[in-house]
């Protein structure tokens, strides 16, 4: 069967165990599920932060993630994948993003999860603003995130 792809952009938190259960429910062809969670840290660039606020581009965020998800399904033998990305105000310790990939054997799931995360960082239209005791400012993009995404374009 075709690999089911679930993509949700939401303000609400998510339950990782529930999402894994939804992905694998009724399936006996899945031998591996890789889960990546991105969590809000309490420090950014050496300073303490009170919260992050994530802005996104509704419509394009879904379209862009869908495009990358379909690319992942084409490149790796996946049995399914889930990408959830939150927006709004998120405090340290809270979830920001979830990537789940399911495959028959582990390697495809590991690689596809890493591929999806690298592209979420550099091409999904989300922007983080940090709040600290000194005020608030936009977080700058990191060159090593660009390099991480770039490596998937090499043969």
């Amino acid at each position: 069967m075709a690999a089911p792809v679930t993509i949700r952009i939401q303000q609400a938190d998510f339950d990782i165990a529930r999402e894994i259960a939804l992905l694998t429910r009724g399936r006996t062809d899945i031998g591996a599920v890789v889960s990546f969670s991105g969590i809000c840290r309490g420090t950014e660039g050496g300073g303490e932060i009170a919260a992050l606020t994530l802005e996104h581009y509704p419509g394009m965020a879904e379209t862009e993630i869908e495009r990358r998800a379909q690319e992942a399904v084409t490149r790796w033998p996946l049995q399914g994948l889930t990408v959830l990305h939150r927006f709004g105000r998120i405090e340290p310790g809270q979830n920001i993003v979830l990537v789940l990939t399911a495959s028959e054997h582990r390697q495809a799931a590991f690689e596809a999860a890493e591929f999806l995360m690298d592209y979420l960082k550099t091409s999904a239209p989300f922007w983080k603003r940090e709040e600290s005791t000194k005020g608030s400012s936009w977080i700058e993009a990191r060159a090593d995130d660009d390099a991480a995404a770039q490596r998937w374009t090499k043969p």
Binding site: Y57, V97, T122, P125, W127, K128, W138
Partner: protein, 83 residues
């Protein structure tokens, strides 16, 4: 066409979206940035470092030399920091 702005580009321009009708001489994303920047200081400030600015036409990433003809929605934003 509709223009949308995000993150600090939105803050500098001073609005999230607007509808504009640029003249036919404005053919590419880069032309549009120059045309907007010449209109008002707020745009000039938002686009002061054009190499940093990312653009999308109808929800797809494009380069600055992309043609804008036929576009319904063009968005400008800084490099993305999601994930």
């Amino acid at each position: 066409m509709k223009l949308k702005y995000f993150a600090w580009v939105r803050e500098r321009v001073g609005k999230a979206e607007e509808t504009i009708e640029p003249p036919a001489s404005v053919r590419t994303v880069d032309d549009l940035i120059k045309w907007l920047s010449a209109r008002d200081d707020a745009y000039a400030y938002a686009f002061e470092k054009p190499k940093v600015i990312r653009a999308a036409i109808d929800h797809a990433h494009v380069k600055s030399d992309a043609a804008i003809s036929g576009a319904r929605e063009i968005a400008f934003f800084p490099p993305m920091t999601g994930g």
